[in-house]
């Protein structure tokens, strides 16, 4: 055996065209491997190995003849086989089969049953308008009114400003402005001063629970339970505006550190927004 051994040093020194090793093709059974070297966009030398599966097909004579046609036009210089310039194998796609049932659902977007009423009572959640509610003016009504007080207040503020037809920044609304007289201003000040912030509330907290919690301490003007916009769950804190400042102080005294639904509440004076 007298094989010429090529040393690695010779291999490196070999003078390749553009400094790249030539393309090698080798066939193994039904697979053809093409090894190519090229420079990528960053100027680095990369080795590209393409694997082709060789399939044999029986085709009509004319088709076989056409396989041997020479390329022309823009493809004139292309090597045999698909050029990576023009032909790509795209990513896997799947046919989506639709059953007739799915289609019907897709085409008819939730048609409302003709018999179903769209009215919903604000007081008792019944299928009638609030005006016609049998519970109108009863305790149940007043409770819901309480809950909607915040919105009502907001609406009032809006109507106040709409009278003048001029934009009023939120902090000047509802008599918060110093120019609006001491009586109104004082009231606002008082209201702010009798507000407490309750935090570490459970997620399942509702307005009704909150009212239950604070109603024995003293009368309150306003309850606000912070809720997550999307889920509607309690964000863990709430504000209560008591009528009297001493009630608010009592609330802090009683409820701060009070265990509620396996959580320990933290109650403090509500700090005005800076």
């Amino acid at each position: 055996m007298n094989l010429m051994k090529t040393s690695w040093a010779d291999e490196v020194a070999a003078d390749y065209v553009d400094g790249l090793p030539p393309t090698k093709v080798h066939t193994d059974g039904n697979f053809k491997y093409v090894t190519e070297y090229k420079f990528n966009e960053e100027g680095k030398k990369v080795k590209v190995v393409r694997t082709y599966k060789i399939q044999k097909q029986t085709v009509p004579k004319v088709v076989a003849h056409r396989r041997n046609w020479l390329k022309f036009g823009d493809s004139i210089g292309d090597k045999p086989g698909p050029s990576s310039q023009t032909t790509m194998v795209s990513e896997e796609v799947h046919m989506v089969f639709l059953s007739s049932k799915e289609l019907e659902q897709a085409h008819e977007p939730q048609m409302e049953e003709p018999g179903k009423k769209i009215a919903k009572c604000r007081i008792c959640n019944g299928e009638h308008w609030s005006v016609n509610c049998p519970y109108k003016g009863t305790a149940m009504d007043s409770k819901t009114l309480m809950e909607s007080k915040a919105t009502a207040a907001a609406a009032a503020a809006v109507s106040d400003t709409s009278k003048t037809g001029k934009y009023v920044p939120p902090f000047l609304k509802a008599g918060g402005c110093a120019n609006n007289g001491s009586a109104v201003g004082g009231k606002a000040w008082d209201r702010d001063r009798s507000a407490v912030r309750i935090s570490n509330l459970p997620e399942s907290m509702t307005e009704a629970d909150l009212e239950e919690l604070v109603k024995n301490i003293g009368p309150h003007n306003k309850l606000f339970l912070a809720r997550e916009k999307n889920t509607g769950l309690c964000k863990g804190f709430a504000f209560v505006n008591f009528k009297f400042r001493h009630d608010a102080a009592a609330a802090i005294e009683i409820l701060n550190g009070h265990g509620y639904d396996h959580l320990i509440l933290s109650v403090e004076w509500s700090k005005p927004q800076s």
Binding site: V59, V62, R66, R67, G73, S75, I76, T87, V89, V96
Partner: protein, 326 residues
């Protein structure tokens, strides 16, 4: 399945067609070079260079020797399929919208647009001994279209008739020997017909219309047999040669594409059952509306060309053939 993406065009595809055996796939686009591909592996065989405007239509004769194209440069050209050379270039008075070989390949028909003060006209030429002198020869038949311009055209059986689809939704059959209209469908479609493709035996054809429907017609009486409804304009429709399936391609108007997301655009190929008129499958792929569809003559794959400039060759997997319509 992993479709082949053929990226040979710079602008939106206008028409794609397989040859009779299905080994070659021809595509033309609004750039100026129609392409020919091997449908099996997506290898490009060549481009037909010579047009100077958007190429609107193409057709290949049954022997895959000649190719006819019509373009916005106001010519229709005959090409040698194998070498990509021009056999004849016939000048017209306005851009050429449709062109087709007759089944025998002896005759070809093409129609021009109603534009630049010209009426839409249908021409029939004899291409048996086509050479460059064809440009000077008078066509064997000229039929002026007074009502609405031709947007789609097919040859009827035995090369005796031509079926035309019009911009106003009408379909008509013309006798090639008399040069007269023999059947008029009336207004089955409410808007222009974008595409018409015959079934394998030629007894019926499917239309694709801007009025968001595709319809199946009897090719002799123009009786409307079936209607396939979608929500978007249908740009192309093709009948499977082996199964009772119709594939529809479309999407919203090309001008609205940039303002619509791929999801909302409904750019899928949609498969309808030929008889039950019900959609049973969808296949995604294109980023824009599909402008042209063609079934491989063996029915095991199909190709689609889109406004995005890609031609995609999809080979069905076994799930397509196993799927039994309920």
């Amino acid at each position: 399945m992993r479709p082949l993406m053929l990226q040979g065009h710079e602008r939106s595809i206008t028409q794609i067609k397989y040859n009779r055996e299905g080994d070659l796939l021809f595509s033309c686009s609004k750039d100026q070079k129609p392409n020919v591909w091997y449908s099996l592996n997506g290898e490009r065989l060549g481009t037909y260079d010579g047009h100077q405007g958007a190429v609107w239509c193409l057709d290949v004769d049954w022997e895959s020797r000649k190719l006819i194209t019509g373009a916005g440069d106001m010519t229709t050209k005959l090409w040698d399929v194998e070498y990509g050379t021009i056999i004849a270039s016939i000048p017209t008075k306005s851009s050429v919208r449709t062109s087709n070989f007759s089944f025998s390949g002896n005759q070809a028909a093409y129609s021009t647009d109603k534009a630049m003060g010209q009426n839409c006209e249908l021409f029939i030429i004899d291409v048996r001994n086509a050479d460059s002198s064809l440009a000077e020869q008078t066509p064997t038949l000229r039929i002026p279209m007074t009502e609405s311009k031709i947007t789609s055209m097919q040859w009827g059986p035995l090369d005796e008739t031509i079926i035309t689809g019009h911009d106003n939704g009408n379909i008509a059959i013309w006798d090639v020997r008399k040069g007269q209209k023999v059947v008029d469908s009336g207004s089955d479609h409410a808007a222009g017909i974008n595409d018409m493709q015959l079934s394998k035996d030629g007894t019926m054809f499917v239309t694709a219309s801007r009025d968001t429907t595709a319809k199946l017609f009897d090719s002799e009486s123009l009786m409307c047999l079936k209607t396939y409804k979608t929500e978007r304009p249908v740009n192309s429709a093709a009948i499977s040669p082996i199964l009772d399936h119709v594939v529809l391609g479309g999407g919203q108007d090309a001008m609205e594409v940039t303002t619509t997301s791929t999801k909302a655009g409904k750019f899928d190929s949609r498969f309808f059952h030929l008889i039950y008129e019900e959609e049973f499958a969808r296949l995604k792929g294109h980023f824009g509306p599909i402008n042209s569809l063609a079934f491989h003559p063996d029915g095991k794959s199909y190709a689609s060309g889109g406004e995005d400039g890609f031609v995609r060759v999809q080979t069905f997997d076994s799930t397509y053939f196993e799927n039994i319509f309920e």
